[in-house]
Structures are given as C-alpha cells and as structure tokens.
C-alpha cells in the first residue's frame, strides 16, 4: 500500500468528497503527513483553512495518488507544516490572516495578506474589528559591509500588478530579495461563501485574468466532481481548445516580454503580433478575447461554429509559418543568450521540494503536468509531450515555453480534427437533499497547476471554496534564484517566472 493510502486509512474518511478521498486525521496523522512531505515521498499541492479546520492536498510521488488530509483545530491551533517544510509557510501565514488559526511552531509569524488595513481581523473566521491604518512590516535583515537597500513597489515602473520587492544589495549583486505581497487581495474566497455556482464561476474566472480559462475550468471541474455530473463530450473538447489557446497567447506574451527585459525589443514586437492573432481568433470563436466566462459548470457557454473553427486552422497555419523564424532568432542571438543563459538558476532540489509547477518546475527537472497527472479528458485521447529540462535558468524557462507552444499547436490541431458534435451543456440541479458535497480539481494553466476545492451545501450554494494559484509555490523560489544575480537581471528573472500577483493574493 502506498504511504498516502496508508496514512489516510488511519483517519476518518469523509463522504461525498470527489474525485479523490478526504480523511480527517488527528494530530499524529497530521504530523505523519508532514513527515511524508519532508521525506519527499509526497508533494504538497495545497494547504488551506476554514473556520475550525485545516486541509492539505498531497500527491504521492510514487503512485501519483492524490488525497486531502484534514485536521480539526479545536483550540484554534494546529501543528505547523511550514516548521519543517518551507513551502507551507506562506499558506499558513494566510490561514492565520483569514481564519485566525495558529500554526504552532511556524518560523515566520508575520502577517502575510493582512496589511492591517481591512478594518477586520480573521475575516473568514471569528471576525473582530481592527484599525485600517496599516502596519509596518519587519523585513528580514541582511548584515555586512557596504550593503544598501532598494525598495520597489507596490506601484511598479511598467504595466505590472502591485507587489513590493525589498532588495539588499552589495554593489550590483543581490544579497537578499524579500517579497511582500497581498496588495491585490480582493477577498475572493470570502465572496465565494454563500453564492451559487454561476456567480462562483464568475469569481473564479476573475482570480487571475491571464488564467481565466484555467480557473474557469478548474472551478467547473471541482463543482462537477462534487455533484457527480459529466459534461457533454463537445464541451470537454471545447474546454481543452480554450485552454490551449490561452496557453499559446500567454506563452507568446511571455517569450516576447522576457526578451524585452533583456532589451531585445524585436522579439516583443514579433511575439506581440502572434499573441494578438491568437486573441483575435479566440474572440472570433468564443466572443471574448480572453475567453472569460466561456466555461460554466455543466459545460461551455459558447459554440464557435464551423466558420469560426476554420479561423483556427488559419491561425495554426500562420503560427507554423511565423513562429519557427522567431525560435531561430532567439537561438542565434548571442547577445540575448548572454543575458538568459546562466541567469536566475533554480535547482531541481528546490523545485521538487516546493512541488513547483509549470514552466518554472519543468525547466528545473520537475516534469509534472496536471494534464498528465492526474490527467483529465480529453487529454487522455490526445498525443502530446511534456517538455522538461534541468538547467533551471532563464534560458531553460524560455525553451520550455517554446516547446509548449509547439505542443499546444499540435494539440489544437488534434482537437479541431476530432471535435465531437452534440450538446454544449448538461442541465443539472446543484441542490441536493443528502447533505454537503465536496469536489476538487487540478488543472494545468499556462503557468502551472491550478487547484480548486469547494464544498456545496444542500441548497447548492458554495459553503467554502479555495483557489490555489501555481504562483504560491513559485514566488518563494524567485527569492532564492535571484541571490547572487545582479539587480539589472531581476526583471529578466522575474518575467521568466511570471508569477501572478492577483492569483496569489486572491
């Protein structure tokens, strides 16, 4: 029996949790789960709270089984996972901010999303009123001769989301970077409580705008898992079509923007053209450039029709013609590679420890892709490769994107060729007589795996919904990779990660 299954057998199974099981364990069970993370036998997929309990989703690295482990916090406390497994530290700080639950033993007790401006403490737990004046944040110190600090943000110099970076610098070299996030915290999970699935899907689609399809898909799949409904085949395939178009658009944007941060504007110009072509095709097919709100629980809202689908064939032909010269351009520009090769190295050990997904993980040897593991339709009927490299530098993260563009083009072609006919949505009633139902989904967005977990009450409304952006396990690693790099390479490294602020801040 696998380590995870063995652990979960020791707890109380929760009924109506799908598709994977959830078990409530005692404190010992929680600590055993923590040990599995430390030993690298399980990967942490998510860690979130609710009023009187904390949950962690884990992946058994040997068997690829997924499970959710819960422990109840009777006195408002639970044993810290972050104490020994650092990727849990920010989620635990967030659990404290939102629910007031204390992770006993956590090495960093500073507030994370709560900047002391909400006028309320523990907004999703036992609420108490507080001031709105803001609190000073104790940045971690760096000591030594000739060090100075550079403070950047939350308002940045470009068209970028808000966040603060505090650099401790020796000459040009970064000694320590510390991120302070939470500026874009909108209270998405608080707004989810009590709304129906239609509104919940719209909120999910506004968690991180660049991943609106991925969030829409993850939310819909979690809701459908909870209710045990299957969507029509045409909807399944159209969802994958949207997901791959979103991946293409974002990867083109990223490849151009990373090169632009190395002052190579030609690539930004050319990739910007390809990105715009993808968005226009998406608009022609689905009526919205970012395809927002096109995925709904139960299916999809829009059918592109045959005329629009022929636009996709034209798009693919254009991309096949115009993208390869850009690959050559990147590959043959020594001055550009001088910036990207060897910059911002992320070690495979750190990527594995943080269960870091997306191009960041795959450029550092972690070949995880939610389309493969746990996998979901229609990808089981499609042929594609998951590119992986182990160099872990900016260059590797660009090459992963380049290869994924090629894979997405091939995937879209297969989807168009085999798109089934039929209905777009299934009628369903979210209200159920027999108690609450829980569902979870893991979906591969362009940036990595998006996790959505939700519980529906008997009237079909959302009781609790947690949305975990891939950035949670990528942002902390950016702090690690920048160490020893020059300040001027920070935009380059940052863009090669392209973490979401809004998706993380929620």
């Amino acid at each position: 029996m696998s380590a995870l299954a063995d652990l979960m057998r020791g707890g109380h199974p929760v009924e109506n949790h799908r598709p994977w099981s959830r078990a409530v364990v005692d404190q010992d069970g929680w600590l055993r789960a923590r040990d599995l993370l430390v030993q690298g036998r399980c990967a942490l997929l998510g860690l979130w709270g609710e009023a009187r309990a904390v949950h962690m989703a884990v992946l058994d690295e040997a068997t690829n089984e997924i499970g959710v482990i819960t422990t109840e916090c009777r006195d408002g406390r639970f044993p810290s996972v972050g104490q020994v497994h650092p990727s849990a530290i920010r989620p635990e700080r967030t659990i404290h901010d939102l629910f007031g639950l204390e992770a006993v033993g956590i090495p960093d007790t500073r507030a994370w999303l709560d900047h002391g401006r909400w006028g309320v403490r523990s907004p999703l737990g036992d609420r108490t009123t507080s001031s709105t004046g803001g609190e000073a944040y104790a940045f971690l110190p760096a000591e030594g001769e000739s060090l100075h600090q550079i403070a950047v943000g939350p308002v940045h110099a470009g068209i970028i989301e808000p966040g603060h970076f505090r650099f401790n610098v020796n000459g040009e070299a970064v000694v320590r970077l510390e991120e302070r996030l939470g500026y874009a915290h909108k209270g998405v999970e608080g707004l989810m409580a009590g709304v129906n699935l239609v509104r919940g899907a719209m909120l999910a689609a506004r968690t991180s705008g660049d991943s609106t399809v991925a969030y829409g898909l993850a939310f819909a799949r979690a809701a459908e898992a909870a209710l045990g409904i299957a969507v029509p085949p045409r909807a399944v395939w159209l969802r994958a079509l949207m997901a791959e178009l979103e991946r293409l658009a974002n990867h083109f944007g990223d490849i151009g923007a990373i090169c632009n941060d190395a002052s190579f504007a030609l690539m930004l110009g050319q990739c910007g053209i390809l990105r715009e072509r993808v968005l226009r095709t998406a608009n022609a097919c689905f009526g919205h450039r970012l395809m927002r709100d096109c995925i709904v629980p139960g299916g999809v809202a829009v059918d592109p029709g045959d005329n629009a689908l022929s636009r996709i064939q034209e798009l693919l032909a254009t991309l096949r013609l115009q993208f390869p010269p850009l690959i050559d351009l990147y590959d043959n520009t020594a001055s550009l590679q001088d910036r990207t090769v060897g910059s911002g190295m992320l070690s495979p050990e750190l990527a594995r420890q943080y269960a870091c997904g997306g191009f960041v993980g795959r450029a550092s040897g972690r070949g995880f892709d939610a389309r493969r593991t746990p996998g979901y339709p229609p990808y089981d009927s499609l042929q594609f490769e998951v590119p992986a490299l182990d160099r872990g530098d900016v260059d590797a993260r660009i090459w992963i994107r380049i290869r994924e563009v090629e894979q997405s083009i091939a995937l879209i072609e297969q989807i168009i060729d085999h798109l089934p006919a039929g209905a777009l949505q299934i009628d369903f009633d979210a209200a159920t007589a027999n108690g609450p139902k829980e569902g979870m989904a893991l979906v591969e967005g362009f940036r990595g795996d998006v996790l959505v977990w939700l519980r529906l009450n008997s009237s079909g409304r959302i009781e609790r919904c947690h949305l975990r952006d891939p950035s949670w396990f990528q942002w902390p690693l950016l702090e690690a990779v920048i160490e020893g790099n020059i300040v001027a390479d920070f935009p380059l490294c940052n863009k090669s990660f392209n973490c979401s602020y809004s998706g993380h801040d929620l």
Binding site: V155, P162, K186, L191, R206, G209, E276, L329
Partner: protein, 175 residues
Amino acid sequence: MRRSFFAEAIAKGPLTETSPGSDDAALAELVRNVNGTARKRLGRSLSIRQVDAGSCNGCELEIHALNNAFYDLERFGLRFVASPRHADVLLVTGPVTKNMREALERTYHATPDPKWVVAVGDCAVDGGMFSASYACVGGISAVIPVDLHIGGCPPSPTQLLKGLLTLLEYSVAGS
C-alpha cells in the same frame, strides 16, 4: 535573420490598423469633468502612467496590447511612462483594494497638475464583483477623482484606444 524581419515588414507593409476614432459617450463624460485650463496645458501629447490598484490583471493584458503592432498607441502621441512624476494621465485599474488605497493616493499626489484620471474596467467603475468585499474600497472614484471611465471586463484594446483618443481630441479642442 533579423534582416528578413525588416525586409518582410517593408515588403508587406505595417500591420497597424486605422484609428477607431473617438467615443461619444466618453466625450460627454469628459465635457462634464474636465475644465478648460487643463485642456490648454495638456495639448497634443499625453504621457500615461498605469496603476494597478488591485485588478485581476485582465485589464493589464489589454493595456499591454495597445503597444503591439496592430494598435501602436505611440503613433497618436500617447505613451506609457515609468513614473507618475512624468505623467499627465493616470490609467487606473482595479477594484481599489484596501491594501492598495494608500499607494494609489500617493501615486495620484505624485502626479503633477494638471492631470487626468482614466478608470479602466468594470471593477474600476464601482468595484464590480468585488464591491461587497471586506478587502476592497470600491471603484477608483471612491479614492481619487476620475475624469473618464472605460468599462469592459476587460475592455478590448479598441475600446481602450477609443477612450484615450477621445481624451486626446478633447484636450486638443481646448488648446
């Protein structure tokens, strides 16, 4: 390789599309909000500072697109600048989160007068879907005065361009 990109651009001509023109509703809002003195000073060219006050980043994607070859914002004399101190226009997205309120106020006060504020996206109008949240203040006008709203979720680059061109034409008309 690089030469071929340039040769192709010369042979095929630019991708840049014709101006979408101005927007009547936006013009009416500007007439209500902007005084003549500001119009005289701002003239034909506007520097824009974008501020994300808590958006989902969807609006930022479409604002970025204004710089691509199809829309080419700079041909109109509109350009993005890196500091509010260089800006005539603040292009603000969001619902304004409580965690960003002070940063937005400080950015506004760092922008020299006369200045215009353009609120971008449905959330920037009134907080959108986030208006009821404990973590949000609401729309941009709840924090700083707004001269023009460009709605949409997110607004398309064409909608954005129309709004900004209306602003530009209105400023020229006043000079």
